[in-house]
Point group: C2
Chain length 342, copies 2
Amino acid sequence: MDERKQKILSAIVQDYIATAEPVGSRTIARKYQMGVSPATIRNEMADLEEQGYLEQPHTSAGRIPSQKGYRYYVDHLMQPAALSNEEKHMIRASYQAKVDGITQVIKLTGNILSQLTAYTSLVVSAPEGAGEIRYVQLVRLAPGKAMLLVVLEPGKVRHRTLAIPENIGDEDLKTISEVFNAKIKGCHTTDIKKTLMRELYAELIKHKSLVNMVLDLLQESEKKKEERIYLGGLVNMLSQPEFSNVERVKTLMSLLEQENFCYELLGGDCGGKLSVRIGEEIKQEDVRDCSIVSSRYVVDGQPSGSLAVLGPTRMDYAKVVAVIEYLTENLSTVLNKLYRSK
Amino acid sequence: MDERKQKILSAIVQDYIATAEPVGSRTIARKYQMGVSPATIRNEMADLEEQGYLEQPHTSAGRIPSQKGYRYYVDHLMQPAALSNEEKHMIRASYQAKVDGITQVIKLTGNILSQLTAYTSLVVSAPEGAGEIRYVQLVRLAPGKAMLLVVLEPGKVRHRTLAIPENIGDEDLKTISEVFNAKIKGCHTTDIKKTLMRELYAELIKHKSLVNMVLDLLQESEKKKEERIYLGGLVNMLSQPEFSNVERVKTLMSLLEQENFCYELLGGDCGGKLSVRIGEEIKQEDVRDCSIVSSRYVVDGQPSGSLAVLGPTRMDYAKVVAVIEYLTENLSTVLNKLYRSK
DNA sequence: GTTAGCACTCACTGAGGGAGAGTGCTAATA
DNA sequence: TATTAGCACTCTCCCTCAGTGAGTGCTAAC
């Protein structure tokens, strides 16, 4: 593809992204100063269409980019848009104002994401179940009622209220807690061995049922897929002309309201850090007329969640990619701080 | 209002709820077996309109209920719809399957609510900040990093990772925790006195900055309004013909996406248990063409959150009220179990 | 008090006819 | 040979307008 064709393709993609209207030869010649006449551009456009980069909604309309066209644009032509200083400042200010528990951070990130991009945002934090056990404690709340606390590295807490026999007092709970701490501290939740369990039973033979409950919870927290998810800017969908068909929006929204669907959407093969999936490249059938830009964030060296933007294929890729990259970095920093307290 | 007028009003409300079309005299005569001719009904309808219970979109259309009409219907005519056995069963089954942490329960409830009613659901759990302090513990996670745990009655946990001086070891943290527990246990978070603080400083003079951090968190958790909110079935809005105007939906949705707005919506005067607000009765201006049915649920004798359904004024009040009543009760039970572990 | 009959109103629908934007093709030009 | 001007052609969009049908209010009869 020669340079002029690239320039024309780029112009068409950009104009279509901005206006959502098919782009005509005259528009390009005028707005993008190509230095050639509309007729010449028409010839080039005919070529680009033949090669599959453009499409024509109907004979007498301008051209719109095909999926292949967007792909080429994203891979070769797109200039990464820098965030404005206000935007950067806004992001930093938000994170400084409240970084208080992961749920808040996730919400906040989703908000910023949908606000800056004007598309729908999706933030998922990975399962928190697993980790190295740092501390176990049973606390008596009332007669017959106790709370089990488990602290995991890095910086996670599980808790659960339990019914306990009425005759168990503070001292008993303290003893049990101490035994657990002695035996189990440093153990990984995925790695509670049979021998360990036998030792526990031996030492705490008097409280067998209670020990069972505790072990249950330790292991259950492992199995449980407690991902947290945030979905923001659903409204923005309604502003996109490609979703003026209400039926379309309805199917899409009801899918997004199902958490499992969102996990699948992000769980896929976005192996690398940043991924741009355009139209048919998305596996989920009902989202094939959309695009998804997503990225994994990293806490403590481990990928521990992703953030994504979902919009029409006519998405402002340059902007979205810039925002996602910037936010991923900031989010990682914030979460690392939150968990590490350095 | 005589009996026949009531019957006619009731028929109009019901028919309009079902069809969303203005109801004509012929329809009523035929479908609702009034035993009189359309002409008679027309006369009655003219009366009802004059009294303000009905409205006419335009001269040659049928009637629709006015806000006053809905109000009269809800207060005097409505037959509470019983839930079907399948529905009841579905609800109970859902709650039995997973009752695992309040967030899950809230989500689940919201889901059921929007599923059964086909409107938008809103579930808010009240602030968790306040409570009686049962237990305080500092746990060392890594050099320079600790976690503070606070257990509150009834069954709530706050935690936060802290940066601590590197030279503080497990034993120091244990000592500090013990002092805190001795001094502060049983105290209410709203009620940490100056004298108490002075005592703490005196005993832990070596770790003044750490004590400050802990006290900070104890009191901050008080101020912080950590309500949890769940919004479900937003899609359902799009199925309602009164929201076929996309602009309307957009304003409404973007309001609902703001958590503060939701709190205000439910925080109001729904003093009694169940509240039905119709149209203009809602304080928030932009929701004046909607209705809200809401109810408070109770944990441990204390109102601790609300669930609500938001829909068009043409809402199936009988159904919604039934669902909300049933769910409120179930939710209270489940949460009481969860917190009390009885 | 109730009902049949009738003229009237008004939203909705579909056909017809510009207007306008954009194309492809042809012939002229550098 | 590449580019460009000119022109006929296509197709959507929008406006207008008449026909249809549901429903009303009024009047007169039962």
